[in-house]
Protein backbone atom coordinates (compact mmCIF):
# COMPACT_ATOMS: atom_id res chain seq x y z
CA UNK A 1 0.00 0.00 0.00
CA UNK A 2 2.87 2.39 0.77
CA UNK A 3 4.09 1.85 -2.77
CA UNK A 4 0.81 3.08 -4.11
CA UNK A 5 0.72 6.15 -1.91
CA UNK A 6 4.18 7.34 -2.88
CA UNK A 7 3.33 6.97 -6.52
CA UNK A 8 0.20 9.05 -6.20
CA UNK A 9 1.66 12.59 -6.25
CA UNK A 10 4.18 11.86 -9.05
CA UNK A 11 1.58 10.56 -11.41
CA UNK A 12 -0.79 13.46 -10.91
CA UNK A 13 1.93 15.96 -11.67
CA UNK A 14 2.97 13.96 -14.71
CA UNK A 15 -0.58 13.81 -16.00
CA UNK A 16 -0.66 16.02 -19.10
CA UNK A 17 -4.27 17.05 -18.90
CA UNK A 18 -6.09 17.92 -15.70
CA UNK A 19 -9.49 16.98 -17.13
CA UNK A 20 -8.64 13.38 -18.04
CA UNK A 21 -6.29 12.43 -15.24
CA UNK A 22 -3.74 9.68 -15.73
CA UNK A 23 -5.46 7.72 -18.49
CA UNK A 24 -3.20 8.14 -21.50
CA UNK A 25 0.25 8.35 -19.84
CA UNK A 26 0.04 6.00 -16.81
CA UNK A 27 -2.00 2.84 -16.09
CA UNK A 28 -5.47 3.41 -14.69
CA UNK A 29 -5.76 3.96 -10.95
CA UNK A 30 -7.31 0.59 -10.22
CA UNK A 31 -4.35 -1.24 -11.78
CA UNK A 32 -1.81 0.65 -9.74
CA UNK A 33 -3.74 -0.23 -6.63
CA UNK A 34 -4.85 -3.75 -7.44
CA UNK A 35 -1.49 -5.29 -8.31
CA UNK A 36 0.29 -4.39 -5.05
CA UNK A 37 -2.83 -5.29 -3.09
CA UNK A 38 -3.04 -8.66 -4.81
CA UNK A 39 0.64 -9.37 -4.20
CA UNK A 40 0.32 -8.40 -0.55
CA UNK A 41 -2.77 -10.57 -0.18
CA UNK A 42 -1.09 -13.60 -1.77
CA UNK A 43 1.91 -13.08 0.49
CA UNK A 44 -0.14 -12.72 3.67
CA UNK A 45 -2.48 -15.62 2.88
CA UNK A 46 0.38 -17.95 1.89
CA UNK A 47 2.45 -17.19 4.94
CA UNK A 48 -0.57 -17.54 7.22
CA UNK A 49 -1.57 -20.87 5.66
CA UNK A 50 1.99 -22.17 6.08
CA UNK A 51 2.27 -20.91 9.63
CA UNK A 52 -1.08 -22.33 10.68
CA UNK A 53 -0.17 -25.76 9.27
CA UNK A 54 3.30 -25.73 10.82
CA UNK A 55 1.94 -24.89 14.28
CA UNK A 56 -1.24 -27.01 14.08
CA UNK A 57 -1.38 -29.16 17.19
CA UNK A 58 -3.59 -31.74 15.51
CA UNK A 59 -1.16 -32.18 12.62
CA UNK A 60 1.84 -32.77 14.87
CA UNK A 61 -0.24 -35.16 16.99
CA UNK A 62 -1.16 -37.06 13.83
CA UNK A 63 2.52 -37.49 12.94
CA UNK A 64 3.19 -38.65 16.48
CA UNK A 65 0.31 -41.15 16.39
CA UNK A 66 1.68 -42.83 13.27
CA UNK A 67 5.20 -42.82 14.73
CA UNK A 68 3.95 -44.50 17.93
CA UNK A 69 2.00 -47.11 16.01
CA UNK A 70 4.97 -48.13 13.86
CA UNK A 71 7.33 -48.34 16.84
CA UNK A 72 4.89 -50.20 19.10
CA UNK A 73 3.90 -52.68 16.38
CA UNK A 74 7.53 -53.63 15.85
CA UNK A 75 8.20 -53.85 19.60
CA UNK A 76 5.17 -56.08 20.21
CA UNK A 77 6.41 -58.45 17.51
CA UNK A 78 9.84 -58.49 19.12
CA UNK A 79 8.34 -59.33 22.50
CA UNK A 80 6.50 -62.30 20.96
CA UNK A 81 9.57 -63.65 19.24
CA UNK A 82 12.15 -65.97 20.79
CA UNK A 83 14.42 -68.67 19.43
CA UNK A 84 15.64 -71.23 21.99
CA UNK A 85 18.99 -71.40 20.16
CA UNK A 86 19.53 -67.67 20.72
CA UNK A 87 18.00 -66.96 24.11
CA UNK A 88 20.56 -64.31 25.04
CA UNK A 89 20.06 -62.41 21.80
CA UNK A 90 16.30 -62.70 22.19
CA UNK A 91 16.34 -61.35 25.73
CA UNK A 92 18.66 -58.53 24.65
CA UNK A 93 16.19 -57.61 21.94
CA UNK A 94 13.40 -57.61 24.54
CA UNK A 95 15.44 -55.35 26.79
CA UNK A 96 16.13 -52.97 23.90
CA UNK A 97 12.46 -52.30 23.27
CA UNK A 98 11.30 -51.94 26.88
CA UNK A 99 11.70 -49.46 29.69
CA UNK A 100 10.78 -49.11 33.36
CA UNK A 101 9.71 -52.09 35.44
CA UNK A 102 9.25 -54.32 32.42
CA UNK A 103 12.81 -53.62 31.35
CA UNK A 104 14.13 -54.26 34.87
CA UNK A 105 12.29 -57.57 35.06
CA UNK A 106 13.85 -58.70 31.81
CA UNK A 107 17.28 -57.62 32.98
CA UNK A 108 16.86 -59.87 36.02
CA UNK A 109 16.23 -63.06 34.05
CA UNK A 110 18.98 -65.26 35.45
CA UNK A 111 21.04 -68.15 34.10
CA UNK A 112 18.58 -70.84 35.27
CA UNK A 113 15.65 -69.19 33.55
CA UNK A 114 17.68 -68.74 30.38
CA UNK A 115 18.58 -72.43 30.48
CA UNK A 116 14.92 -73.30 30.95
CA UNK A 117 13.99 -71.30 27.85
CA UNK A 118 16.75 -73.00 25.89
CA UNK A 119 15.65 -76.47 27.04
CA UNK A 120 12.06 -75.89 25.92
CA UNK A 121 13.28 -75.98 22.31
CA UNK A 122 10.62 -73.60 21.11
CA UNK A 123 10.89 -71.08 18.31
CA UNK A 124 8.22 -68.41 18.64
CA UNK A 125 7.62 -65.84 15.95
CA UNK A 126 5.20 -63.01 16.57
CA UNK A 127 3.42 -61.16 13.82
CA UNK A 128 1.06 -58.25 14.37
CA UNK A 129 -2.00 -58.83 12.19
CA UNK A 130 -3.58 -55.49 13.02
CA UNK A 131 -2.87 -52.73 15.49
CA UNK A 132 -4.19 -49.32 16.42
CA UNK A 133 -3.40 -46.46 18.77
CA UNK A 134 -6.03 -46.42 21.49
CA UNK A 135 -4.93 -43.22 23.17
CA UNK A 136 -2.15 -40.68 22.92
CA UNK A 137 -1.26 -38.17 25.59
CA UNK A 138 1.98 -36.29 25.19
CA UNK A 139 4.80 -38.73 25.82
CA UNK A 140 2.65 -41.76 26.62
CA UNK A 141 0.35 -43.85 24.49
CA UNK A 142 -1.66 -47.05 24.57
CA UNK A 143 -1.54 -49.33 21.54
CA UNK A 144 -3.65 -52.43 21.01
CA UNK A 145 -2.62 -55.24 18.70
CA UNK A 146 -3.88 -58.51 17.36
CA UNK A 147 -0.88 -60.83 17.33
CA UNK A 148 -0.40 -64.15 15.61
CA UNK A 149 2.26 -66.24 17.30
CA UNK A 150 3.71 -69.23 15.47
CA UNK A 151 5.42 -71.72 17.74
CA UNK A 152 7.68 -74.40 16.33
CA UNK A 153 8.69 -77.17 18.68
CA UNK A 154 12.16 -78.47 17.84
CA UNK A 155 11.83 -81.21 20.46
CA UNK A 156 9.20 -82.69 18.18
CA UNK A 157 10.41 -81.87 14.63
CA UNK A 158 7.54 -83.72 12.93
CA UNK A 159 4.88 -81.65 14.64
CA UNK A 160 3.17 -78.86 12.73
CA UNK A 161 3.88 -75.38 14.10
CA UNK A 162 1.06 -74.19 16.33
CA UNK A 163 -0.69 -70.89 15.68
CA UNK A 164 -2.05 -68.70 18.42
CA UNK A 165 -4.00 -65.47 18.16
CA UNK A 166 -3.54 -63.14 21.07
CA UNK A 167 -4.92 -59.75 21.98
CA UNK A 168 -2.40 -57.36 23.41
CA UNK A 169 -2.49 -53.96 24.98
CA UNK A 170 0.78 -52.06 25.29
CA UNK A 171 1.64 -48.90 27.21
CA UNK A 172 4.26 -47.00 25.30
CA UNK A 173 6.37 -44.14 26.59
CA UNK A 174 8.79 -41.82 24.84
CA UNK A 175 12.30 -42.08 26.20
CA UNK A 176 14.67 -39.65 24.51
CA UNK A 177 13.58 -39.89 20.90
CA UNK A 178 12.50 -43.51 21.10
CA UNK A 179 9.13 -45.03 21.94
CA UNK A 180 9.55 -47.98 24.32
CA UNK A 181 7.18 -50.48 25.91
CA UNK A 182 6.47 -49.80 29.55
CA UNK A 183 3.85 -52.49 29.89
CA UNK A 184 2.59 -55.28 27.67
CA UNK A 185 -0.26 -57.53 28.58
CA UNK A 186 -2.87 -59.75 27.04
CA UNK A 187 -6.39 -58.45 26.97
CA UNK A 188 -8.13 -61.20 28.88
CA UNK A 189 -11.78 -62.11 28.54
CA UNK A 190 -13.86 -60.40 31.17
CA UNK A 191 -17.60 -60.50 30.82
CA UNK A 192 -19.51 -58.59 33.39
Amino acid sequence: MTVDQTEEPTSTTEAPEETTPSEPSSPPRWRRFVLPAAAAAVFAAGIFWWWSAATDEQLSQAELRDEVLIAATGHIETMNTLDYREVDEGLDAWKDVTTGTLHDQLAQVDEDERQLLADQKKISTGKVVDSAVFSLDGDTATVVASVEVTVRDDADPDAEPTLKRNRFSADVVKVGDEWLLENLQQVAVSLS
Binding site: A39, V42, I47, A53, D56, D66, S169
Partner: protein, 174 residues
Protein backbone atom coordinates in the same frame (compact mmCIF):
# COMPACT_ATOMS: atom_id res chain seq x y z
CA UNK B 1 23.10 13.59 -5.39
CA UNK B 2 20.47 14.75 -7.83
CA UNK B 3 21.66 12.37 -10.50
CA UNK B 4 21.54 9.47 -8.04
CA UNK B 5 18.05 10.45 -7.02
CA UNK B 6 16.83 10.69 -10.61
CA UNK B 7 18.38 7.37 -11.42
CA UNK B 8 16.69 5.84 -8.37
CA UNK B 9 13.34 7.26 -9.38
CA UNK B 10 13.87 5.91 -12.88
CA UNK B 11 14.54 2.49 -11.32
CA UNK B 12 11.59 2.68 -9.00
CA UNK B 13 9.00 0.99 -11.24
CA UNK B 14 11.39 -1.95 -11.62
CA UNK B 15 12.06 -2.13 -7.88
CA UNK B 16 8.36 -2.03 -7.18
CA UNK B 17 7.71 -4.77 -9.72
CA UNK B 18 10.50 -6.90 -8.26
CA UNK B 19 9.08 -6.45 -4.77
CA UNK B 20 5.60 -7.43 -5.93
CA UNK B 21 6.95 -10.51 -7.70
CA UNK B 22 8.94 -11.47 -4.61
CA UNK B 23 5.92 -11.09 -2.33
CA UNK B 24 3.82 -13.21 -4.69
CA UNK B 25 6.45 -15.93 -4.98
CA UNK B 26 6.99 -16.16 -1.21
CA UNK B 27 3.22 -16.26 -0.70
CA UNK B 28 2.81 -19.06 -3.22
CA UNK B 29 5.66 -21.07 -1.73
CA UNK B 30 4.06 -20.66 1.71
CA UNK B 31 0.71 -21.83 0.40
CA UNK B 32 2.33 -24.85 -1.23
CA UNK B 33 4.23 -25.80 1.93
CA UNK B 34 1.06 -25.43 3.97
CA UNK B 35 -0.81 -27.61 1.53
CA UNK B 36 1.93 -30.25 1.67
CA UNK B 37 1.83 -30.34 5.48
CA UNK B 38 -1.93 -30.78 5.48
CA UNK B 39 -2.16 -33.39 2.75
CA UNK B 40 0.12 -36.10 4.20
CA UNK B 41 -1.65 -39.41 4.95
CA UNK B 42 -1.04 -38.80 8.66
CA UNK B 43 -2.69 -35.39 8.52
CA UNK B 44 -5.74 -36.70 6.67
CA UNK B 45 -6.34 -39.35 9.34
CA UNK B 46 -8.32 -37.92 12.25
CA UNK B 47 -8.11 -41.05 14.43
CA UNK B 48 -7.10 -40.27 18.04
CA UNK B 49 -6.17 -36.63 17.25
CA UNK B 50 -9.78 -35.53 16.81
CA UNK B 51 -10.86 -36.71 20.24
CA UNK B 52 -14.56 -35.92 19.88
CA UNK B 53 -14.99 -37.68 16.54
CA UNK B 54 -12.87 -40.62 17.75
CA UNK B 55 -14.92 -41.08 20.92
CA UNK B 56 -18.13 -40.88 18.92
CA UNK B 57 -17.21 -43.61 16.43
CA UNK B 58 -15.78 -45.76 19.25
CA UNK B 59 -18.97 -45.65 21.24
CA UNK B 60 -21.36 -46.03 18.30
CA UNK B 61 -19.50 -48.97 16.79
CA UNK B 62 -19.14 -50.65 20.22
CA UNK B 63 -22.87 -50.35 20.83
CA UNK B 64 -23.66 -51.60 17.35
CA UNK B 65 -21.48 -54.70 17.75
CA UNK B 66 -22.80 -55.46 21.22
CA UNK B 67 -26.36 -55.34 19.92
CA UNK B 68 -25.92 -57.46 16.79
CA UNK B 69 -23.70 -60.07 18.46
CA UNK B 70 -25.96 -60.59 21.46
CA UNK B 71 -28.81 -63.01 20.87
CA UNK B 72 -31.41 -64.96 22.70
CA UNK B 73 -33.28 -67.91 21.18
CA UNK B 74 -36.53 -66.91 22.88
CA UNK B 75 -36.35 -63.27 21.81
CA UNK B 76 -34.38 -62.81 18.56
CA UNK B 77 -36.36 -59.69 17.65
CA UNK B 78 -34.01 -57.05 19.16
CA UNK B 79 -31.01 -58.62 17.44
CA UNK B 80 -32.74 -58.55 14.08
CA UNK B 81 -33.84 -54.99 14.60
CA UNK B 82 -30.32 -53.94 15.57
CA UNK B 83 -28.96 -55.50 12.39
CA UNK B 84 -31.41 -53.42 10.37
CA UNK B 85 -30.32 -50.28 12.15
CA UNK B 86 -26.56 -50.55 12.40
CA UNK B 87 -25.34 -52.91 9.68
CA UNK B 88 -24.97 -52.08 6.03
CA UNK B 89 -23.23 -53.23 2.88
CA UNK B 90 -21.11 -56.36 2.98
CA UNK B 91 -21.33 -56.71 6.75
CA UNK B 92 -25.11 -56.85 6.41
CA UNK B 93 -25.02 -59.58 3.76
CA UNK B 94 -22.58 -61.75 5.71
CA UNK B 95 -24.50 -61.22 8.90
CA UNK B 96 -27.77 -62.26 7.28
CA UNK B 97 -26.28 -65.61 6.23
CA UNK B 98 -24.95 -66.14 9.73
CA UNK B 99 -28.18 -65.08 11.37
CA UNK B 100 -30.26 -67.43 9.20
CA UNK B 101 -28.25 -70.47 10.30
CA UNK B 102 -28.34 -69.23 13.88
CA UNK B 103 -32.14 -69.01 13.73
CA UNK B 104 -32.26 -72.65 12.64
CA UNK B 105 -30.06 -74.02 15.41
CA UNK B 106 -30.84 -71.68 18.28
CA UNK B 107 -34.29 -72.83 19.42
CA UNK B 108 -33.23 -76.51 19.67
CA UNK B 109 -30.08 -75.62 21.60
CA UNK B 110 -31.74 -72.84 23.58
CA UNK B 111 -28.81 -70.69 22.62
CA UNK B 112 -28.07 -67.39 24.29
CA UNK B 113 -25.18 -65.20 23.12
CA UNK B 114 -23.88 -62.26 25.09
CA UNK B 115 -21.36 -59.87 23.58
CA UNK B 116 -19.29 -57.21 25.23
CA UNK B 117 -16.70 -54.93 23.68
CA UNK B 118 -13.43 -54.79 25.61
CA UNK B 119 -11.56 -52.30 23.51
CA UNK B 120 -12.35 -50.41 20.33
CA UNK B 121 -9.38 -48.53 18.93
CA UNK B 122 -9.77 -46.29 15.91
CA UNK B 123 -7.08 -46.85 13.30
CA UNK B 124 -8.31 -44.61 10.52
CA UNK B 125 -10.90 -41.89 10.59
CA UNK B 126 -12.22 -39.35 8.10
CA UNK B 127 -15.44 -37.36 8.19
CA UNK B 128 -17.49 -40.34 7.04
CA UNK B 129 -15.33 -43.46 7.03
CA UNK B 130 -13.55 -45.32 9.83
CA UNK B 131 -11.53 -48.45 10.46
CA UNK B 132 -11.29 -49.91 13.94
CA UNK B 133 -9.62 -52.77 15.75
CA UNK B 134 -12.09 -54.22 18.22
CA UNK B 135 -11.52 -56.76 21.00
CA UNK B 136 -14.83 -58.37 21.82
CA UNK B 137 -15.83 -61.04 24.32
CA UNK B 138 -18.74 -63.31 23.53
CA UNK B 139 -20.24 -65.92 25.80
CA UNK B 140 -22.52 -68.62 24.49
CA UNK B 141 -24.85 -70.58 26.73
CA UNK B 142 -26.74 -73.66 25.57
CA UNK B 143 -29.35 -75.77 27.36
CA UNK B 144 -27.00 -78.72 27.88
CA UNK B 145 -24.00 -76.57 28.90
CA UNK B 146 -23.17 -76.47 32.57
CA UNK B 147 -21.59 -73.10 32.10
CA UNK B 148 -21.23 -70.62 29.30
CA UNK B 149 -18.28 -70.93 26.98
CA UNK B 150 -16.47 -67.70 26.39
CA UNK B 151 -14.52 -66.62 23.33
CA UNK B 152 -12.13 -63.74 22.83
CA UNK B 153 -12.63 -62.21 19.41
CA UNK B 154 -10.50 -59.78 17.45
CA UNK B 155 -12.34 -57.92 14.76
CA UNK B 156 -11.25 -55.57 12.00
CA UNK B 157 -14.25 -53.29 11.60
CA UNK B 158 -15.08 -50.88 8.82
CA UNK B 159 -17.70 -48.23 9.37
CA UNK B 160 -19.38 -45.53 7.35
CA UNK B 161 -21.30 -42.51 8.46
CA UNK B 162 -24.75 -42.39 6.92
CA UNK B 163 -27.10 -39.50 7.78
CA UNK B 164 -25.03 -38.63 10.83
CA UNK B 165 -24.95 -42.15 12.30
CA UNK B 166 -22.13 -44.68 12.06
CA UNK B 167 -22.99 -47.98 10.40
CA UNK B 168 -20.82 -51.07 10.34
CA UNK B 169 -20.06 -52.04 6.74
CA UNK B 170 -17.26 -54.55 7.22
CA UNK B 171 -16.68 -57.12 9.97
CA UNK B 172 -13.64 -59.36 9.63
CA UNK B 173 -12.54 -61.74 12.40
CA UNK B 174 -8.74 -61.67 12.66
Amino acid sequence: MTSVRTRLSALRPYLVSALLVALTVVGLVGAWRGYELRSTPAAQNLAVVDTTATAEVQSEVSQALTRVLSYSYDDPEPTEQAADEVLSGQAREEYDTLFASLQERAPGQQLVLTAQVQTAAVKELTADTARLLVFLDQSSQRADDDEASVSAAQLAVEAERVDGAWKVTGLTPL
